[in-house]
Symmetry: C2
Subunit: 351 residues, 2 copies
């Protein structure tokens, strides 16, 4: 039984040590150049400062310079870095990969193909970073589903989905990660899981917008009625995009789609960014405010890429962009100067 290496000591990377150690796995946790502070604090106190928990005993910490040592006896390498860092980590990792290792990716988002300009999923980015001799010899597994890191670390019941073209690899990882509170489904619908993960922020932002609009109105009035309709429309439109890209509706109607959309809308940065827009800030002002608070905004690029993807699919005749009225309203708010409140009201008026 080989070790599991987690690349990236941020909240999600650290949280995943919990189910793995609960299963008796030996875990190496490697910090990137951005994790120096976190790693030092952990080495001293055992506490992960962002998660606010003590990591399980036995997790071996490896600083940035010691990737080679961290890779020794590893059978599963978990990419738990921000999507923008996947390419560079793959470059470093490539030399230490061996046949029959498995890569698991929790990175989310679409990246632009530097050659064609078309959107690439994280899995495609990872595969393109494999050494030529190892192409198709290292299965890649993408993780989707509602999984707030803090909750995983605190052993709150969580259901996720592992997607891979290599179902046996996904099944193997399922057995490695599954605990009574960390439940794992498997699927071969990689594109479905990846698109859900990449686009959920684009849609969930509208629920935050409702909170912002609410804040401007009579005290005490919620917008639950509106949110219920908007969240479900998000699921429906996500399913249309996924199906147009060859993914499966059942993937959207499961942890990767409905589930992840729900938690993204319930809290966190995307919701906060949406709230700022709903309260009347322009996208530029909201982005600046988020930057001041050192919070990345995934919703903004996700909405841009999602809309471009929808345009491309419309052009190819694979969907009709007019069947995505919510995405159009969200795009209008983020990139066409439309007021968030007007976008929500217009969406309903057109029903």
């Amino acid at each position: 039984m080989g070790k599991v290496l987690i690349l990236g000591a941020g909240a999600m990377g650290a949280a995943l040590t919990v189910p793995l150690c609960q299963n008796g796995r030996e875990v190496n946790l490697w910090g990137t150049e951005f994790d120096v502070e976190v790693l030092e604090a952990m080495a001293k106190t055992g506490q992960h400062i962002r998660l606010g928990i003590a990591l399980p005993r036995g997790v071996m910490l490896f600083p940035f310079a010691e990737l080679e040592r961290a890779c020794q006896d590893v059978e599963i390498a978990v990419l738990a870095v921000a999507s923008a860092g996947v390419r560079s980590v793959m470059q470093r990792l490539a030399a230490f990969l061996r046949e029959r290792m498995i890569i698991v990716s929790v990175a989310k988002g679409l990246e632009e193909d530097p050659k064609t300009g078309k959107p690439l999923t994280m899995l495609e980015v990872i595969e393109s970073g494999l050494p030529p001799a190892l192409r198709n010899k290292i299965p890649v597994v993408a993780v989707g589903g509602p999984s707030i890191a803090k909750e995983v670390a605190e052993r709150i019941p969580t259901e996720v989905i592992f997607a891979s073209k290599d179902l046996a690899a996904a099944e193997y990882c399922r057995r490695v990660f599954t605990t009574p509170v960390y439940r794992v489904r498997v699927t071969t619908d990689v594109i479905g899981v990846e698109l859900c993960a990449a686009l959920k922020n684009a849609f969930a932002v509208v629920v935050g917008m409702c909170d912002g609009v609410k804040g401007k109105m009579n005290a005490g009035v919620e917008m639950h009625n509106s949110k219920a309709t908007l969240l479900w429309e998000a699921v429906v439109e996500l399913a249309k995009i996924v199906q147009a890209m060859g993914g499966r509706e059942e993937t959207v109607l499961g942890p990767a789609g409905v589930g992840d959309l729900y938690v993204t809308a319930a809290g966190g940065r995307t919701r906060l960014f949406g709230e700022m827009l709903g309260s009347g800030m322009s996208p530029g002002e909201a982005l600046e405010e988020m930057k001041k608070r050192h919070l990345t905004v995934e919703a903004y690029p996700a909405a841009k890429k999602g809309y471009e993807l929808a345009q491309a699919l419309d052009k190819d005749g694979r969907l009709n962009i007019n069947d995505l009225p919510l995405l159009k309203q969200i795009h209008a708010v983020l990139f066409e100067g439309k007021v968030a409140e007007a976008a929500i009201w217009d969406y309903f008026a057109a029903l």
Copy 2:
């Protein structure tokens, strides 16, 4: 253009005057014996004390004794009383019904057939209360979907669904009620809409349970991951019951199902009752506490009736009750002495 009569001056009855008056409709609002205080306050101040808003000008108020006068020139009668009151209101109303009137019902819940003991939908209760000469001559329209009364009254965008065997009647009502912020879909899937309305409380209670469990744990840990999975499982199990009863999945995957479940789980009495259970109260203690606060608990009878319905469908071979693991756990908490926390953890462990 006849008048619209709303029977029941509670929050929902009063809220529906808003879209109707926005459309220039003349509205009569009749108070039951439970609405005396509300009606008196409204007559004096114009304010609806429970909604905290002033009703639109022109709404005519009719006290309990003046039902006959309230029925004059009425073309649509909206039943906006609690489900327990539907039978008695129908008895009083029967004498004043005329051919070509339409009854719209916002009452929700299943009632036991006094003869067979089988569950009756509100629509069946209403139809059985029609005078024999008017059977099949007065269409009945059931309203489903996420519609918190306060939000409807405050003109927060809301999408609902009107269901009737008589599609033309549902369409007519759609035109009468629809405003830019009160959107109405129509369907002939009456059983689907009615079952969603009746059973959503049975399922939504589990989201409240998560809040109760959360309250007992380390400060700051949410259970969004769990809620996401549980809410979606509720949708899936609701769809199984609806389909076994001859309703349509598409009804559950719309305002009546997903939408209403979402708002029921987001706030209100059902969530509060669930939170009490999750925090460790027994169902008896929680019911008593709710009674002290003068709050009806729809989730409790809904779970009982939903479970009995599932058992009956299982016996008839129309579904397998083991395919409803969440409903089984909820029933175990409410009627078999199981601890809510254990029920949630067991649900996940069995995935």
